[in-house]
Amino acid sequence: MEENRYALQMQDITVEFPGVIANDHVSIDCKKGEVLGLLGENGAGKTTLMNVLYGLRPPTSGKIFLDGKEVQISSPYEAIENGIGMVHQHFKLVDTLSVIENVVLGIKEKKQKLDLEPAKKRLKELCEEYQLYVDPDEIVWRLPVGKQQWVEILKALYRDCKVLILDEPTAVLTPSESDHLCQAIRQIIKKGCSVIFISHKLREVMDITDRITVIRDGKMIGTIKTSDANQLILAEMMVGRPISIDRKPRSLYPQSEPVLEMHNVNAVDERGIPALRNFSLTVNSGEIVGVAGVDGNGQRELAECIAGLRKITSGSISIKGKPVTGVIADPSFLGFIPEDRQKTGLVLDFSIADNMIIKDYHEKPFAQKHMLQYKTIKKHAREMIRKYHIKTPSEDVKVRNLSGGNQQKVVIARELDPEPVLDIASHPTRGLDLGAVANVHETLLKERNRGAAVLFISAELQEIMALSDRIIVLFNGEIMGELDGESADQNVIGQMMLGQRAEVKE
């Protein structure tokens, strides 16, 4: 049975959204006991393809074969029945439920009574087998992110999946957790299970996979054996041209003086758990301070505290000597690019023009004598559209209808155009394509050279190292160490991201 070597084949999958072809005749296949890498930039269509496989999105056309048999998958339930397990990029866990409740959720059984003991026993066996340990009775939201990842994987394994899809599994993991994951993956394929490993990080794809399929702009570029590939070839396949995020050249800013000063700041997150612990930091004018760290180690709270959106429990924060007491809505003082532009940074149902005045709608020249001056507002918007190359037919277009990159440009134009003394850029390139990323990098560097103090928060080590004058590493709300941008070593940062202090080393 020649065909049955393949656990999974997807043939000629096409997915069309209104106006966009997300997948254009993409074909992939995955042998039994193999790790297939699915490589592509953000927005290349990897996740869409996997959502098709998992029954979350119906394909416009195309066929799916499992174990040589054609199958129709129109819901996650059918996918699970067919032995497909998926660990989503954004976790699909009900975080108010316990681990074991999440694991058994959705499994159909005749008995309506919920008896968790056998399930716990089985889960513990799986934990042992794959060396992924979690406490079955813990409530999910109390678990650190890495552990939640284990829960997701165990959930799929518990359902006896034949094909396990891991969508960007390392995005939330520390380097050592990533290694741990790799070991688990090896254990999984030993059992005859196939793994599809989605990523845009070349190195880890090289490390773990047997073969790699590259997708670009929704089209399949090719599949090669990992042993035949190297990072350079893959990178070219991925973006269609050679890329590198090189360290940007820069000169020392002459009149450097402290702008942001934080002393022993403590703050808690929504759940009342300490998010920042005795945090002290100074950012000077004309420098970019990069904040590295795995997501969820206090980055969001840090940005929110500085912007006055979150109350600090103790310590002090001041900008240019002025203490931060409430929300800073003065655009000439603080420019804040929030991490979630759609939720926080923009009002999707407002026009571009309206979004441009979100912070100073009550100030001159946009408001005079208690009236909004729409002439001025629109003129200002047109100017911003031109200056920041926002692609839109007019300033009256709702921001909802813009692409991610153009939405980000709206935020950047509004926040940085008034030339604030302090910029906070929180994951400003998340979800953007390479062109837009370069654009954002350039803007931030320009801000630095203008003399602004820039606090640059990102989970992508590459861009932190490319842009920052100084790098601090955040772990569990504390600074693990501070490095010079020019001489920082990726491995050192990686260890700090794990919680090892600079002093401990050496």
Binding site: N51, Y54, L56, R57, S75, P76, Y77, A79, I80, E81, M86, H88, F91, K92, L93, V94, D95, T96, L97, E101, N102, V104, L105, G106, I107, K108, E109, K111, Q112, K113, L114, K155
Partner: protein, 307 residues
């Protein structure tokens, strides 16, 4: 004085019964993320259908069955609008209430016999001789069967919610519908089930309201905001069936207190006593709201296409 207190407590249990019955369904609906605000109106239908069926068909069993049927239909309507059409839950509920208010009044106007004649009410289960036992006699044994059932319901609800697969599904759907969908659950299906359940029990609650003791329907909004009080009880009770029922009991006590105090004291105008249950509700909400763990997608529409 002592007998007044016993009397009051007896009435408190009786007045709380319909609230508790309604809360049985509403807790599930809200746990799955849908606030069924139509329960106020659905209660009216239950009260009317109960009286009508009991009087014209002369069968309490048929009355209950018909009530369940009507409740299911109304629940289905709410589910269709809020779940399938993703209409705003507040709006849907208010309009269902408005239709129900008008429709029950209209239908009631056509059945003039039930104005004069009392419909058969729910019987008591214990022999009349036991009703005279001091304190516990009037308090428990003289209660109609509906009260007894009402006070068993919360424990059944708690069992279903925490100890069955379906209960787990309901809790999961309300907190994270997307995750539930990817785990293979039919989110829409579960929401339909809970909302229809809330319709059925709201209707039954209405039936208890009219058939536990009075045996009459009265026009102009007999439920008098009790549906909204149940919604408040769910919030205050943290969407836990037993705790919600306890809160309902407190509201029931406030409701019956006004009648008792009126008989004792005439210095306080009765209108102020009538305000009591509503004021107690607001105060309870104010004190307790911070301690409630809200189902994460409480009141939000769920679009299955949002992956």
């Amino acid at each position: 004085m002592f007998s007044i207190i016993v009397d009051w407590l007896q009435a408190a249990l009786r007045w709380a019964a319909p609230l508790i019955v309604v809360s049985f369904g509403e807790v599930f609906a809200e746990r799955s993320g849908v606030i069924n605000m139509g329960i106020e109106g659905i209660m009216l239908f239950g009260a009317l259908v109960g009286v009508a069926a009991s009087y014209y068909l002369d069968s309490l069993l048929l009355a209950v069955l018909l009530t369940i049927l009507v409740g299911a239909v109304l629940g289905l309507a709410v589910a269709y609008l809020t779940v399938s059409r993703r209409a705003n839950q507040v709006v849907t509920g208010l309009m269902i209430n408005m239709v129900s208010l008008g429709a029950t009044d209209m239908i009631f106007a056509m059945m003039s016999e039930t104005r004069q004649n009392r419909a058969t009410t729910f019987p008591t289960i214990f022999p009349a001789s036991m009703h005279d036992i001091p304190v516990i006699g009037p308090l428990f044994f003289s209660q109609p069967v509906s009260t007894w059932i009402a006070f068993i319901l919360p424990f059944i609800a708690a069992y279903i919610l925490y100890k069955t697969r379906w209960g787990l599904n309901v809790r999961a759907v309300g907190d994270n519908p997307k995750a539930s969908a990817t785990a293979g659950l039919s989110v829409i299906g579960i929401k339909y089930q809970t909302v229809i359940l809330s319709g059925i029990f709201a209707c039954l609650g209405g039936c208890v309201l009219s058939l536990a003791e009075v045996g009459y329907f009265s026009a102009g909004g007999m439920a008098a905001g009790r549906g909204f009080i149940v919604m408040a009880a769910c919030v205050v009770g943290g969407w836990d069936p037993v705790r919600t029922a306890l809160i309902c009991l407190i509201f029931g006590a406030a409701d019956s207190a006004q009648l008792r105090i009126q008989t004792v004291s005439s210095t306080i105008p009765y209108q102020f006593l009538q305000m009591l249950p509503y004021v107690v509700t607001i105060v309870a909400l104010t004190i307790m709201v911070k301690h409630s763990l809200v189902p994460k997608t409480w009141g939000a529409a769920y679009d299955p296409k949002d992956v």
